[in-house]
Symmetry: C2
Subunit: 210 residues, 2 copies
DNA sequence: GCCAAGATTGACTGATCAGTCAATCGCCTG
DNA sequence: CAGGCGATTGACTGATCAGTCAATCTTGGC
């Protein structure tokens, strides 16, 4: 750290942040490295001073953010609250992540988690950890009897995560309105829909009527 | 039809079928037009005799298959059966589509419906029609009182479709086992999870215990 | 003021590939 | 069998871009 104390890391961060904006706007495959450099206000070659390749930029962005999410899921699972509350917290965390940095979440979802043929395959193990974290929450609920025992926890986790990702995709595609109210409402609705089900019936956690 | 009676259309079909295999194996962006031509056993130039561009091949594949699915959803909605049965039929149709031609469904999902930055945006309107078809089924159920009135039908449709697509993605990524038993089981589980919910409770359509 | 080391620059290279096109083939018609 | 027309071929072109690299700048220590 003798000769590159602060600005070096700042520049690296600037490139990463610029990449988020460019990847979100144009897509990873439809942008040039020079677009990222321009957006960052930096010379082309500097990108290669900090990163080995264009792909490494995306990998870095993904691993950074996904790690935060996995930590959050683990922390939520450890809380002493009802299972439904845990799932509500997970949904809340992911939705807030999107609200806080929609470009970054767009890049991660569109370019990595939903890109089976390229980065999705590369990060498969990492992506699975999220399913497994959710499945652990469901499994505990099954064991304590609050969740149905005949729906495997891995299956439930896929449904839950799939519903959230579809919701995010709706916002990304601008199919769904993106207001603070909608984001908050979605947190409740997704838990009510997945945990309580779409059908009417006595489920203990009835919807707040009104 | 005088000079190109049969073989002309056959060749076009051969190119489309070859493209499905190549796109599924290598991904749309990571394959060359020459790969498709080779796979079809046809000269490079012939691809451009039948299609204006590489993209038009993908568009054709998507629109062909998506049209079939939209028709199926419409037909299922018109049936005189309970809403849960309708959703079970939709899930069944999509899962059977994957079982029947996994490569084609992989291409459609990975390269179109989940590709927000490229083809997804292009076919957004078409993709939305599927959500709307499912939402129509849910809406009818809400009106007759069998589904909760406080979960908007569009929201429910996103959850339902998202869960199914996540399931398909699991199979595509080979995260989930792909056996006939699993496919059949998934049809029941997905409806039970989404309509009945993950939580235990009296929901009318209780799971078959055993 | 001078030096060393890392930071920064951007022109350049090499490879890749979508799409073109002129030539050839093969079938049908008259 | 000649003429014509669409089907078929594959070498070629033009453009694009990821990644390289030698030169230049900046900074901090002495």
């Amino acid at each position: 750290m003798a000769t590159a104390p602060r600005n070096a890391l700042d520049k690296r961060r600037m490139i990463l942040d610029a990449a988020v904006r460019v990847f979100a706007r144009q897509g990873f495959h439809h942008c040039r490295v020079s677009d990222v450099a321009d957006e960052a206000g930096v010379a082309y070659g500097l990108v290669y001073h900090y990163f080995d390749s264009k792909e490494e930029i995306l990998n870095t962005l993904f691993l950074e953010r996904w790690g935060v999410m996995l930590d959050a899921i683990g922390e939520i699972d450890a809380r002493d609250i009802p299972s439904r509350e845990k799932l509500r917290s997970v949904a809340g965390f992911i939705i807030d992540s999107y609200r806080h940095d929609p470009d970054l979440m767009k890049v991660i979802i569109v370019e990595v988690t939903r890109a089976a043929n390229s980065f999705g395959a590369l990060h498969l193990a990492e992506i699975r950890k999220a399913y497994e974290g959710i499945a652990a929450i469901v499994e505990a609920a099954r064991e304590e009897g609050s969740f149905k025992s005949d729906i495997p926890s891995e299956f439930a986790a896929m449904c839950f995560y799939g519903a959230i990702e579809q919701l995010l995709t709706g916002w990304i595609f601008e199919v769904l309105p993106r207001t603070d109210d909608e984001f908050e409402r979605a947190k409740d609705l997704i838990v009510e829909a997945i945990c309580g089900g779409l059908e009417n019936g006595v489920t203990g956690h009835g919807p707040a009527s009104g």
